[in-house]
C-alpha cells in the first residue's frame, strides 16, 4: 500500500456554537476519486475548506501532499486545486484572462501556459468562447471554466465543493467526463456532492453525518448495506395506491415518482405477490409491478434515517 496523499487524524473544527467537523480520521490514496456525501450541514464544506488550508484547525491534525496542515498551510497550496461552492471567478475577465490570471498566481511558466491553456480549453469545450466574459457564460460553462482554472497548475490534489450544483445534465455529464479523465491520469480528487448518482461515479464514498465520517466504502458496498429491496409500481391512481400500500406489512417506505410508486420492502420475493394481491383486492388497477434495482439515493436515505433514529 502506498502512503496516503491525504491523511487526517481526529480533525476537528468548531464554530461559535457548533462543531462542524468532529474527529475526522481519513486516509486518501493517491489517484483516488473520493466522493464526500451527507445531508446539508453535515460538515462537507468545512472539511474541504480545512483541507485547502482556509480554516484553522480546532483539534487534531492532517497532512496534505506530505505537508502538515496546521504548520505549513502555505506549502500545501501549490499542490492543490480548490473550487469553492459559489461562483468564484472574476466576472469581468474573459475566459482566457481568468486562466492567465490563475496561471500567474501559480507560477506557471509562460511556455507551459500556452500549451496548457489550449489543452484545457479544448478539454472544457470552451475554445470558441475564449474571449467571452465569464459572467456571459452559461452556468455549466462557468463551472467548467472554474475547473479549468483550478487545473492550470496541474495540481496533484483537487478539492471540489459541489461543483455541479445548478448545472444542466449535458454540462454535468461533460464535467464528469473531465473528472474521469483526470482520475484516469492519476490526479487525486475529493468531490462533495448532494447528488447520489454522482456518488455512484466515485471510487470511494465517505458519508458524513453531524461532522463525523459514518461510512467510507465503495459505492457498491454501501448500496449492498441497504436492508430491503425496491418494488416499482405503476398504478392508475397513485394517490389511492399510495394510501393502500403504505400500511401493508413489510413495506418500509413508499415514494412517489410522478404517476409511479417506489416501495421499499424488506424482501422483494416475499412481498411482491402480496402487494399485487392487495391491490387487486382493493380494486386498484395497475399497469406493472416489478422488482427494481436499488439506487444509491435509496441506500443513502435509508442509512441516514437509521442514523437519525
Amino acid at each position: 500500500m502506498t502512503t496516503p496523499i491525504i491523511q487526517t487524524q481526529g480533525l476537528t473544527r468548531d464554530f461559535k456554537k457548533t462543531r462542524a467537523v468532529d474527529g475526522l480520521t481519513l486516509a486518501i490514496q493517491p489517484g483516488e476519486l473520493f466522493g464526500l456525501v451527507g445531508p446539508d450541514g453535515a460538515g462537507k464544506t468545512t472539511t474541504l475548506r480545512l483541507l485547502a488550508g482556509l480554516l484553522d484547525i480546532t483539534e487534531g491534525g492532517a497532512t496534505v501532499a506530505g505537508f502538515d496542515l496546521a504548520r505549513q498551510p502555505e506549502s500545501i497550496k501549490p499542490h492543490i486545486g480548490y473550487m469553492a461552492q459559489q461562483f468564484s471567478l472574476y466576472a469581468e475577465l474573459s475566459v482566457l484572462e481568468n486562466l492567465q490570471f490563475f496561471a500567474e498566481i501559480y507560477d506557471v511558466s509562460p511556455a507551459d501556459l500556452a500549451e496548457r491553456t489550449e489543452r484545457l480549453l479544448t478539454f472544457a469545450g470552451l475554445t470558441e468562447f475564449e474571449h467571452r466574459r465569464a459572467d456571459h457564460l452559461s452556468g455549466g460553462m462557468q463551472k467548467k471554466l472554474a475547473l479549468a482554472c483550478t487545473l492550470i497548475h496541474e495540481p496533484e490534489i483537487l478539492l471540489l465543493d459541489e461543483p455541479t450544483t445548478g448545472v444542466d445534465p449535458v454540462s454535468r455529464r461533460e464535467f464528469w467526463n473531465i473528472l474521469t479523465e483526470l482520475h484516469l491520469d492519476g490526479t487525486t480528487i475529493i468531490v462533495s456532492t448532494p447528488y447520489m448518482d454522482e456518488a455512484d461515479r466515485c471510487s470511494r464514498v465517505g458519508l458524513m453525518y453531524a461532522g463525523r465520517l459514518v461510512i467510507c466504502d465503495t459505492p457498491q458496498k454501501i448500496r449492498a448495506q441497504l436492508h430491503g429491496e425496491m418494488i416499482e409500481l405503476l398504478p392508475d391512481d397513485w394517490q389511492t395506491a399510495k394510501a393502500l400500500t403504505e400500511n401493508l406489512p413489510g413495506v418500509l417506505e413508499v415514494q412517489t415518482y410522478g404517476e409511479a410508486l417506489h416501495l421499499l420492502v424488506d424482501s422483494g420475493k416475499k412481498r411482491l405477490p402480496q402487494i399485487k394481491r392487495a391491490l387487486t383486492k382493493g380494486k386498484i388497477s395497475f399497469r406493472s409491478a416489478r422488482l427494481a434495482p436499488v439506487r444509491m439515493e435509496e441506500a443513502f436515505i435509508s442509512l441516514i434515517r437509521r442514523l437519525e433514529e
Binding site: 482556509l54 480554516l55 484553522d56 480548490y82 469553492a84 472574476y90 490570471f101 498566481i105 478539492l159
Partner: protein, 377 residues
C-alpha cells in the same frame, strides 16, 4: 515576494476597472469633479452684499459717505430704511446681510474730529457676508475721514499721513493678494485624492462579498503580494489624477504652480501609497462594501477635511488633535502640495514630510497585512 503575482493581481484589477464603463468614469473623474465643486463652494468671492442704510443725520456728509461705501461691486444698497423696525424686518427676512446706522451727530462729530458715530449691524447667521461688510465699511470710513479732514489737518500744520501715523507695509509672499483659491485648491487636492483609497477599500470588500477572495486564499499567493497588487492600479489611477488635478487647477482656476513637477509627482506617489494603505485597512476589516464606505467617511473624508490643516490651522489645534493630525498622511501632503505650488520649495525642505508619509504608509500596510489572514471564519 513575487513580482509576477503582484502583477497578476494588479492587471486583473485594472481590467476590472476598465471593463465597467461607469466605474471607470467615476474612478477617473470624481476627484476632479469634487475639486471643482468644493473649490467653488468654498472660495466664492464675496460680492454684492445687500445692505440697508438708516441715516439719522441726513446731512450732505452722511449722504456722501453712503455714496462712497456703496460704490463698486462689494456692497449693494438694498434699501434706505427709515426706522430700526424696518431694518429688523429686512434682516429677519434675510433680504440684507448688514445694515449701516448713521448717528444724528455724524457730520458734526466728524468735522469736530471727535470720530464718526455710526453703527453696523450684521446678521450673525451670515458672518461671512456680515464680516465682509464690516471690514469694507471700516476701510471706506477711514478713507472718507482722511478726505474730509484733509483741510483741517493741514491747517493745523500736520501732514495727511498724521491721521494714519503707523505705516503698515504688508507684503504677502507666494500668493500676492492673498487669494484663498491659490492655497485652498492645492490643499483640496490632498482631500480629493482620498477617493482612490475609498475605491481600493470597496474593491477588497467586493472581492470578499462575491466569494473570489476565498478562491485566492486557496492559492499560494502571499498576503503582501495580494494587498500590493490591489493597490497598484489605484496608485496608477491616483497618479493620473495627480497629473489631471494640477493641470485643471492651473487652467480653470489659474492657480500658479511654482515648484518642480517631477518632485510633486514623486511625493504624490508616496502619499497615494499611504492613503491606499488606509483604504486597505478598511477593506481588510469590513465585510461589506457599504460598511467599507461608511468607515471611509469616518476615517478618511471627515478627518481629511478638518484635521489636515487645509481650513483650520494645525497650530491652533489642541495637543491631542495635533497628534492625530500627524498620523494622517493628508496633513503632510497638504504641506507638500501648498509648498510646491506656491513657494515652489524643494526636497531639501520637504524631505521630512515625505519620510513621514512613507513611514505612515508602511505602518498602515503592516497593520493591514498583520490582520489580513488567508483564512475564512
Amino acid at each position: 515576494m513575487s513580482w509576477r503575482h503582484i502583477w497578476a493581481i494588479a492587471r486583473k484589477e485594472v481590467r476590472h476597472i476598465v471593463r465597467d464603463r461607469s466605474t471607470l468614469i467615476l474612478v477617473l473623474f470624481t476627484p476632479t469633479a469634487l475639486l471643482l465643486l468644493m473649490a467653488y463652494a468654498l472660495t466664492v468671492d464675496i460680492k454684492h452684499v445687500p445692505i440697508a442704510v438708516l441715516d439719522y443725520d441726513r446731512s450732505a456728509t452722511s449722504r456722501a459717505f453712503i455714496q462712497q461705501i456703496t460704490a463698486g461691486e462689494d456692497l449693494e444698497l438694498y434699501a434706505q430704511a427709515s426706522s430700526m423696525a424696518e431694518i429688523e424686518a429686512m434682516l429677519m427676512q434675510g433680504e440684507i446681510k448688514a445694515a449701516l446706522v448713521i448717528d444724528p451727530n455724524f457730520a458734526r462729530d466728524l468735522l469736530g474730529m471727535r470720530g464718526m458715530p455710526m453703527q453696523v449691524i450684521i446678521d450673525g447667521t451670515e458672518p461671512g457676508s456680515g464680516g465682509f461688510a464690516v471690514d469694507h465699511i471700516a476701510w471706506r470710513a477711514e478713507e472718507f475721514a482722511n478726505q474730509s479732514l484733509t483741510n483741517q489737518i493741514q491747517a493745523m500744520g500736520f501732514s495727511l499721513e498724521s491721521l494714519q501715523p503707523l505705516d503698515l507695509r504688508v507684503r504677502t509672499w507666494y500668493n500676492p493678494g492673498l487669494k484663498s483659491r491659490n492655497d485652498l485648491i492645492p490643499g483640496l487636492i490632498s482631500m480629493v485624492l482620498g477617493m482612490p483609497a475609498l475605491s481600493v477599500a470597496l474593491a477588497l470588500a467586493h472581492e470578499r462579498e462575491h466569494g473570489t477572495l476565498e478562491q485566492l486564499m486557496a492559492t499560494p499567493i502571499g498576503r503582501a503580494e495580494l494587498l500590493l497588487g490591489k493597490m497598484i492600479p489605484y496608485i496608477i489611477v491616483g497618479l493620473l489624477n495627480v497629473i489631471m488635478l494640477p493641470a485643471f487647477a492651473m487652467a480653470w482656476f489659474h492657480v500658479p504652480f511654482n515648484g518642480n513637477f517631477p518632485l510633486f509627482f514623486a511625493l504624490s506617489a508616496i502619499f497615494l501609497f499611504a492613503m491606499l494603505s488606509m483604504g486597505i485597512i478598511i477593506g481588510v476589516f469590513m465585510r461589506t462594501q457599504a460598511a467599507a464606505l461608511a468607515l471611509s467617511f469616518l476615517l478618511i473624508f471627515y478627518p481629511g477635511f478638518f484635521l489636515t490643516g487645509i481650513f483650520f490651522p494645525i497650530a491652533s489645534m489642541p495637543e491631542a488633535m495635533r497628534m492625530e493630525a500627524l498620523g494622517l498622511p493628508g496633513t503632510h501632503y497638504a504641506i507638500i502640495t501648498r509648498g510646491i505650488f506656491l513657494p515652489g520649495i524643494g526636497l531639501d525642505i520637504l524631505w521630512p514630510y515625505a519620510v513621514m508619509m512613507a513611514v505612515l504608509g508602511l505602518a498602515y500596510t503592516g497593520v493591514a497585512a498583520l490582520f489580513f489572514r488567508k483564512k475564512l471564519g
